[in-house]
Amino acid sequence: MGRYFAIRIGRALLTIILVVTFAFVVLRLSGDPSLMILGPEAPPEVLAAFRKAWGLDDPIWIQYVDYFGAIAKGELGRSMRDGRPAIQLVLERIPATLALTLPAFAFKVALGIPAGIYAALNRGSAIDRAVMITAVAGFTVPSFVLALLLVLVFAVQLGWLPSGGQDSWRHAILPIATLGLGGAAVLARFTRSAMLEVLGQPYIRTASAKGVPWRKVVTAHALPNAAIPTVTILGFMVGTLIAGAVVVESVFAWPGVGRLLVVAVANRDLSVVQCILLLVAMTMVTSNLIVDFLYGFLDPRLRAKGAHA
């Protein structure tokens, strides 16, 4: 068991290092931050001083080594724009993002999973078809289109809800609905196919042949098995809690991590971008670890494999 997790944690660290490296390379190579921040008219001596202050005149590999050295010490740099620690800027924004993503996650689970189960149990029925059509629509319509559509209907036409900003709980409804509807569609589709797969298994027929009432066949035999693949997609959704709202936050002018990222990228504010990417990589990796652990809990076949180590 220990070795199982050691390998997984090693793999997680490697993923984080790769993500950070990728971000470092792409951002450094795609433009000069000093020009971006100080503007093209800035005098050359000011530019040189800025570059020296931020270490931008060092060879790229030294910047890279320095950057990793700093991360290892827990220093994630300062914003090039206002000089505050990047981590502080990011942490400030997290509650706003979670205020959208957490209710949206609850919405996805509460709507998507029951809809998927219901559709699978009534395969081919009108309700199944309705769920599937909605799911495909929710799956294919990009979130900014859905967001604009909701704004058009509920803010512009009906005037029930505000179209942007963060002044009251009413401002959160449309962004949450945008995030939640798309996610619920994905989850419904996934749950449905996982359920159908399980319902076709011989052990379901065995349970019916034993005289187990159908309701119990579903709850006691089918659901625990269908949960195994569903956990994968849930884990992925947990991984997007921090940064899964970039588009929606931009559309609704919601001051969360996603908007910070957009602004920081536009400004070449390297430390902030890297800090966010690191955070995203860490949440992704952590949620993957949780999924691995849950697999072991849900599936005795995997548990047994771990126990041999």
Binding site: R3, Y4, I7, A304, K305, G306, A307, H308, A309
Partner: protein
Amino acid sequence: MSAPLVEVAAISRTYTMRSGMFGRSSAVHALDGVSLSIRKGETLGLVGESGSGKSTTGRIVLGLEPPDAGEVRFGGKSMAAPGTPEWRVQRARMQMIFQDPLGALDRRLPVADQIREPLDVHGLGTGAEREARVQELLRSVELNPQHGRRYPGALSGGQRQRIVLARALATKPDFLVCDEPVSALDVSIQAQVVNLLADLQAELALTMLFISHDLRVVRQISNVVAVMYLGRIVETGCADDLFARPEHPYTQALVSASPAPGRRSAGRIVLSGDPPNPAARPSGCAFHPRCPRAISRCATELPALSSIASDRQVACHLVSGSQAQSQDAA
């Protein structure tokens, strides 16, 4: 009596298997000193249960995987190293058919194209000659040109296996390895394919290694039969005689476990114990924990395969008696 075309000399094969994803690795002795020889134009039947090593033997004979020890000789010459030109020449003379014909065929190509493929690959004949050969092959497996134009999905299981057979015969091989070729087929279709295989074998003077768990089918098609248990041959003999008078206790149990219409189960030998596990091979004779006649010697000493009659060899302390010398094959 003709010379052997295929000789397998004391081949062994060990796999390393991990128990679980990260468990300690352990050695699985899939094959342990197996020797066989198949005379030109004859069929050797290889029977055994899962884990007996019969399929591994087939793959090694074809050169699909190397043995850890021992060697395979084909036409008196050692098999060349895989990938070399000599190997390709030898390999072109051998073909194989497996249990699942659908897996062996490409679903997106008409079956006639697939029969033609080996002719194209080896550059045999002109375009017209190849086309004629495809039609001839289709006829030889009792299918017509219409069948050739279909896709594998539009054919029945028996017809697909005929296509696989036709493709295997395209390059006029001398030697055919058949691994459970009729096991997935229904009885009436199985009989058609078995008859066809027997006819073609006689007509083309094919040499065959026929691997199956089904004693009846093996007897029907083989001249000589070898019985395997946990990676070793425990008995060989002429097909009719072996199943009529099995000597090894395992062969006796296998014959007895093969139910026959018109015979009630009275007097059947039912072996106790779990099926054999190659990862936990018992000491001595691997069969001793399940053997109804085992004596103490069986648990410690590996019995060698020794002749008890002109064409019968048995690896059992109780059968070969005291003249059998223990021999460590490893």
